[in-house]
Symmetry: C2
Subunit: 349 residues, 2 copies
DNA sequence: CTGAAAGCGCTTACAG
DNA sequence: CTGAAAGCGCTTACAG
């Protein structure tokens, strides 16, 4: 096996300097056509693949954007990652994806690892980070975008929606529709090494809406371990029924839990929505297919990724002098989707 | 904003050479403790973050492993990616993830882009690639592992299972249970720019099993566009019923389709499994929660990723002289999971 | 246990 | 339109 051909090899075969090869690759328009052809021939003949590592070091531009999500095992975050990746790919950037498993210390070590790759921008999920993470990010001196939330004090920019408002909106809607004993289903509060800050904010919104209406907030079930799932929803509903028989509505932290709860009701002969209404969050595809179809909150997951990508490209295309307007916070909002599980008839869905 | 500190800055502050700083980072044990402490102090003081780009160029080791999957929007592939990533992370490797959207030409351009980052190994999903992709891979001279399949002529190594056997096994099982009019639900055959080779192999297995039993194979519904989904399953079932009322079992290319089909049956008042049995593939979590619970094929998705990671680490730790045993093909098998949707009673599941 | 020299494969900044 | 020189920030391979 011959050693991998370098730009020098291509240059020698084509009878030009490495600078000319470099130009053919980076800005072909400024190279004479005949020269360009010879270089392309040499590249093809040798099977030359440019070395982006050397290119990055020399130009001090890695072509990387880093993105950190809680997990890849949640379609919503996967969609955001795809939206980001697709947007950046068009501009020649490559996405470095990492996941934290909802752990801040994992995020910190990931940020450290990723910054060593010298990304030109970084996207983080949520507005909560360790002190060290924040310092690393600030020192990195690259655009930082926090997504899926609207932090009060963003590190750089933010693109998301208010999880607090989501919780209030859905809970208020349930109250409007006449429900008085509304339960909340979520993950445990203080699992060591796991925390869903955005889910906690939706819970806080639930609390506020109930308090405003002078209704009790004692039906909070925080069950299981780690990220929620269909199983989490089924088990949480079981736990809920053991203690309280008077519940008339359930708001789950995620559609995963909500769908699991609907299925468990079906198994137990509890009628949804007649005996109990159920609502979730995230608008997962399954929610529109189950019977009864699931009321939920729709988030434009792909859009969050795309907008983050666009903002990044915009920021990176500016000269450092232009970069005045710091701390953009973009609220993409959310949409309540009411379906059969809270009493909307099928044709309305 | 001061320019980002380099190893030289750290060396100067600590009163040592850059080599000593480099050693403190790479092999601290061989540096005198007092020196080590001074270097660590300087690193902390400056907030120094090593530059892996320079490190990679100098050592000719990128610390990257590339992985290509069809999509991140499928939990099974996301799990494989996580298994891979977790295994490699422990050894200090970082995963470069890319997705093809089930398009071979996308795979080719991804491989080209990724090889420019000089990964030390690469993992591809499936055994079908363009000629150019194969040449690029061969020329790259790094370990190649194909996963989720058992290619007849692997480029390097392979870790997966036989999708053909999956199709035969499930179809045979349905025949054994007395079904005679068995339909197959899958994506369209020749969507421009989309092809699920592994799904096609499962279909081929379905064909073979039916032929062996002298049963008709005319109930193949290839509907929709692109990757299948719950909606695909619902629509495919509708399309199936329009043409054939005599179907007594359905085998779907994926649980996504199968669950969609179960839900559509429920909507139409068709009893599963009494009127029609339904089986899927992939053992998605939702399948064990719907009513009736879904018969499916379980694949150890995380295990595929972990095993691929381990093989890679093993191959990379060898000297080039040892690397004799090429073309390992590891069959991880699969497991038929029979549940209510094909007539198993609830307690058996 | 530590350091000086050379070099990894490109691109920047000039010069012509 | 093209090229020679220098350098990006590290590590390898020696030397001591």
């Amino acid at each position: 096996m011959p050693p991998k051909p370098t730009m020098r090899d291509v240059a020698r075969i084509a009878g030009v300097s490495t600078m000319t090869v470099s130009r053919v690759l980076a800005q072909p328009a400024i190279v004479a056509e005949a020269t360009r052809d010879r270089v392309h021939e040499a590249i093809a003949k040798l099977g030359y693949v440019p070395d982006m590592i050397a290119s990055s070091l020399s130009s001090q531009k890695s072509g990387f954007i880093a993105a950190i999500v809680p997990t890849l095992n949640n379609i919503n975050f996967a969609q955001t990652a795809e939206g980001l990746s697709d947007t950046l790919k068009m501009a020649g950037f490559q996405l470095l994806i990492g996941y934290t498993n909802y752990q801040l210390d994992e995020e910190e070590s990931l940020v450290k690892t990723m910054l060593a790759r010298r990304p030109e921008g970084i996207v983080l999920t949520g507005g909560h980070h360790t002190k060290a993470t924040q310092q690393l990010l600030l020192a990195a001196d690259i655009p930082v975008i926090e997504i899926w939330d609207l932090p009060k004090q963003p590190i750089g920019h933010a693109i998301g929606f208010s999880n607090l408002d989501v919780g209030m909106a859905m809970t208020s809607r349930l109250i409007e529709r006449g429900h008085r004993r509304i339960a909340f289903l979520g993950p445990p509060e203080s699992e060591p090494g796991f925390r869903d800050f955005r889910g906690d904010e939706r819970l806080e919104g639930y609390h506020r809406a109930l308090k405003q209406a002078d209704l009790p907030t004692d039906l909070v079930i925080r069950h299981g371990s780690g990220p929620v799932s269909f199983t989490h929803g089924a088990e949480s509903l079981t736990a809920l029924l053991e203690h309280r028989k008077d519940v008339d509505a359930v708001f789950a932290v995620s559609d995963l839990s909500a769908v699991g709860a609907v299925m468990e009701c079906q198994r137990r002969g509890i009628k949804v929505p007649d005996d109990v209404a159920i609502a979730g969050f995230g608008d997962f595809e399954i929610g529109s297919h189950i019977i009864p179809s699931l009321t939920t909150v729709h988030i434009d997951c792909i859009g969050i990724g795309e907008r983050a990508g666009q903002l990044l490209l915009d920021l990176l295309s500016r000269t450092s002098i232009e970069s005045a307007d710091e701390h953009q916070v973009i609220d993409l909002g959310f949409e309540l989707v009411e379906r059969e599980s809270t009493g909307m008839s099928a044709q309305q869905t």
